[in-house]
């Protein structure tokens, strides 16, 4: 199935890192592991530094368990390698997938590449923080208030 990464509209070559299912990987940890969406993430902790690729699974695109796994891997366990979505991966989920920290995708849906190129700009405003580095609206509002307050104090402080 075609593999996509950001920065390229056409599919990229699959780099051939064979991701082992978790049970096998625990026996002999390599650089790549594939998790079922019911797997416990704590088990990865000890060898997390070794990992270059974690593959998460969407058995149906309506099964959203891997979004939580992604966020915990990025945000809680601090994983910085490649995070891939496989299974039933469709372009309309891309804004969510990107926000949860996925950076590569296996999909055979037509138009996936161009959709990926546009996905980060579909929404210029987000309401909540996630695993991308977008500032949520509540934070931008506070910054704006502080900036306005500073503008008012500024001229006075200069005196």
């Amino acid at each position: 199935m075609p593999l996509y990464r950001e920065g390229a509209i056409v599919p990229v070559a699959n780099d051939g890192l064979a991701a082992l299912p978790l049970a096998e990987w625990l026996q002999a940890p390599t650089q790549a592991v594939a998790l079922a969406n019911t797997d416990q993430l704590d088990l990865l902790k000890t060898h997390l530094g070794r990992l270059k690729l974690i593959v998460l699974h969407f058995p149906k695109y309506t099964d959203g368990r891997a979004y939580s796994q992604a966020r915990l891997l990025r945000g809680r366990l601090g994983y910085r390698g490649e995070l891939r979505a496989i299974g039933q991966v469709l372009r309309d989920q891309l804004p969510f997938l990107l926000r949860c920290g996925f950076d590569s995708f296996e999909s055979d849906q037509p138009g996936f590449g161009p959709a990926l190129a546009r996905a980060r700009t579909l929404f210029s405003v987000v309401y909540q923080g996630a695993e991308d580095d977008r500032a949520p609206a509540w934070l931008l509002r506070l910054r704006r208030r502080d900036a306005r307050a500073a503008e008012q104090i500024g001229p006075l402080a200069a005196e």
């Binding site: 959203g64 939580s68 969510f96 926000r99 405003v125 996630a130 208030r145």
Partner: protein, 557 residues
């Protein structure tokens, strides 16, 4: 046009809304061209509020915390005229449903909604739905704190939440700021009750796993007291546990109430608190300035002092007995003496409950502009509310509502029926509910009789999904299908009042469509004969049990 006294969209909110409209427009285009299959499109359409029903698409428009400005209400009237058949139905979750929408018009309809800061985002689908509140919020005499502040905070956090857009099933949250729960928090996936602890701090009781439908369950307390600024961190923890562990193998067992039932509330609490230990001090902790900025927008309008007792009103009470009844049933105490909260009854005798034409919506907007600070609320009981009406203005409001057919003095009475759309509209239904409601309503139309019967909540659902909330009706009626024939199962004693939350008890075999009115009549007759001093129907039932009622019903039918 009066200023609004609830959350005002800023450029961030409006940009997000506009971008969502464009995303949806593109998705509809791709569906109509065949680029997207129905299977791929369905969740996208649902999370934009569009259902396919029996005859047409239905658009479910969100009315956050049931609060509308008159400008918004007028726009709804216009959209109903332009894109639908000129009427809408107010629902038990404070939304508005338009029943005859075309898919090809839906992007324009939601673009029109966006013009007045409204939307249909996440009103359907396996996502966090519209968070509902007490329809008397900000006005009720018994309020501890306005729950709508928290509904708005939850609305923003839950909108297009990237982690929780593909949950096992829908997720409904309700918030009450009063000890008298008018938001039914104990029958929601998460219910939040604001209360003041002995130290004087206001925080949330967090209730989880309530719900109606196939397996009605009353929610359990997950956390007795949660500091307000920890709300989002806690909710994120609950949702994460649900997203990860809720069942995905069977749609009838996929709600959080099933998870809580299967693992037990102690285990649920353990899981949530373990997750919360990490989220508590994250960026999810609400900045006090953020809370303040939102709370400030819900400050009450600057209501001038008006007299609590007005000669003209007292005189009219004596002259016009119906006005006196209307005052009793359709108005409620306001925080400020000199004002009342007025309910416009959308249950005129014989009418489909909860429906309003475009003309009626505009009429209510006119009244709200003149007499209620430009604000209207939608209640869970499918009525509209004018939250701040001066006592002096009650006769004028009564007359104006009367001209719209919305002044039936029946709020809380037997003809103030809650009914789901039922088999007339809904693809999920087994039986019709609206014609049953109409017949009961006509049968008990006599006002003096209704007031004698007193408070009595009749709730009708056309199928086990219980959108009519029949489980929590004093008299609950559930439509079933037996060999192609519509039958109606009766239950008694359901309630959502705090301290009395209870699920109704089925009294016996289902009765036919031509017997249901007689059955209800028999129930009422039993009550009238057996009631004690000051007892409502449900009180008598609690005292004497189902037997006497059952006997009378099955003798009659």
């Amino acid at each position: 046009m009066p200023d609004t006294h609830f959350y005002r969209y800023d450029d961030f909110d409006r940009t997000l809304l506009a971008e969502r409209v464009e995303q949806f427009r593109d998705q509809v285009r791709r569906r109509l061209s065949g680029e997207l299959t129905e299977e791929q499109f369905k969740p996208l359409r649902l999370t934009n509020g569009l259902y396919l029903q029996l005859h047409a698409y239905m658009l479910r428009i969100a009315i956050p915390y049931g609060t509308l400005s008159t400008r918004q209400l007028r726009k709804l009237a216009e959209i109903a005229r332009k894109y639908d058949r000129g009427y809408g139905h107010f629902t038990t979750r404070q939304n508005l449903q338009l029943n005859w929408i075309k898919l090809e018009d839906a992007p324009d309809a939601v673009a029109a909604l966006a013009e007045v800061d409204m939307h249909a985002i996440q009103t359907s689908g396996n996502v966090i739905r519209n968070t509902t509140a007490d329809h008397f919020a900000g006005a009720a005499a018994d309020e501890i704190e306005d729950p709508r502040i928290w509904c708005e905070i939850i609305r923003q956090w839950s909108t297009l939440h990237p982690e929780f857009s593909f949950l096992p099933r829908k997720f409904k949250i309700a918030v009450t700021g009063s000890p008298n729960d008018r938001a039914a928090v104990r029958v929601h996936d998460v219910g939040l009750r604001l209360w003041r602890n002995p130290e004087g701090q206001v925080g949330f009781e967090v209730i989880v796993g309530g719900g109606l439908g196939r397996t009605p369950i009353i929610g359990k307390t997950l956390r007795a007291f949660l500091p307000k600024d920890e709300l989002l961190a806690y909710l994120e923890s609950v949702l994460r546990v649900y997203n990860r562990y809720g069942r995905r193998d069977n749609i009838y067992k996929a709600r959080i109430k099933i998870l809580v039932h299967e693992i037990g509330v102690e285990k649920m609490r353990e899981e949530v608190e373990a997750e919360f230990a990490s989220t508590k001090d994250s960026a999810l902790r609400l900045d006090p300035r953020t809370i303040e900025a939102i709370a400030g927008q819900f400050a009450a309008p600057p209501l001038p002092h008006r007299p609590a007792t007005v000669g003209a009103v007292e005189a009219l009470k004596i002259e016009d007995r119906v006005f006196a009844l209307w005052l009793k049933s359709n108005t409620a105490p306001h925080r400020m003496a000199g004002y009342r909260i007025v309910t416009a009854s959308l249950k005129p005798a014989g009418a489909p409950p909860g429906d309003a034409s475009s003309a009626q919506m505009e009429g209510v907007a006119d009244i709200a502009d003149a007499y209620s600070w430009g604000e209207v609320r939608v209640s869970h009981e499918q009525n509209l509310v004018l939250p701040h009406v001066a006592v002096e203005d009650l006769p004028a409001v009564y007359a104006a509502l009367g001209r719209l057919g919305f002044a039936e003095a029946n709020v809380g009475k037997i003809t103030d029926i809650i009914a789901c759309p039922g088999l007339d509209y809904c693809a999920l239904a087994n039986a019709r509910s609206i014609p049953v409601a109409q017949r009961i309503s006509n049968h008990f139309a006599n006002l003096a009789r209704q007031h004698d019967i007193g408070d009595l909540k009749v709730k009708i659902s056309g199928c086990i999904n219980a959108c009519g909330h029949h489980h929590v009706g004093h008299i609950g009626i559930l439509g079933v299908d037996k060999n192609g024939v519509e039958l109606y199962q009766i239950s008694l004693g359901g309630d959502v009042d705090f301290g009395h939350t209870a699920l109704g008890e089925i009294i016996g075999p289902a009765v036919g469509a031509d017997e249901i009115v007689e059955a209800v009549d028999a129930l009422v007759a039993t009550y009238l004969e057996r009631r004690g001093e000051g007892e409502r129907f449900v009180d008598t039932y609690r005292r004497i049990g189902a037997e006497p009622f059952k006997e009378r019903v099955y003798a009659a039918v």
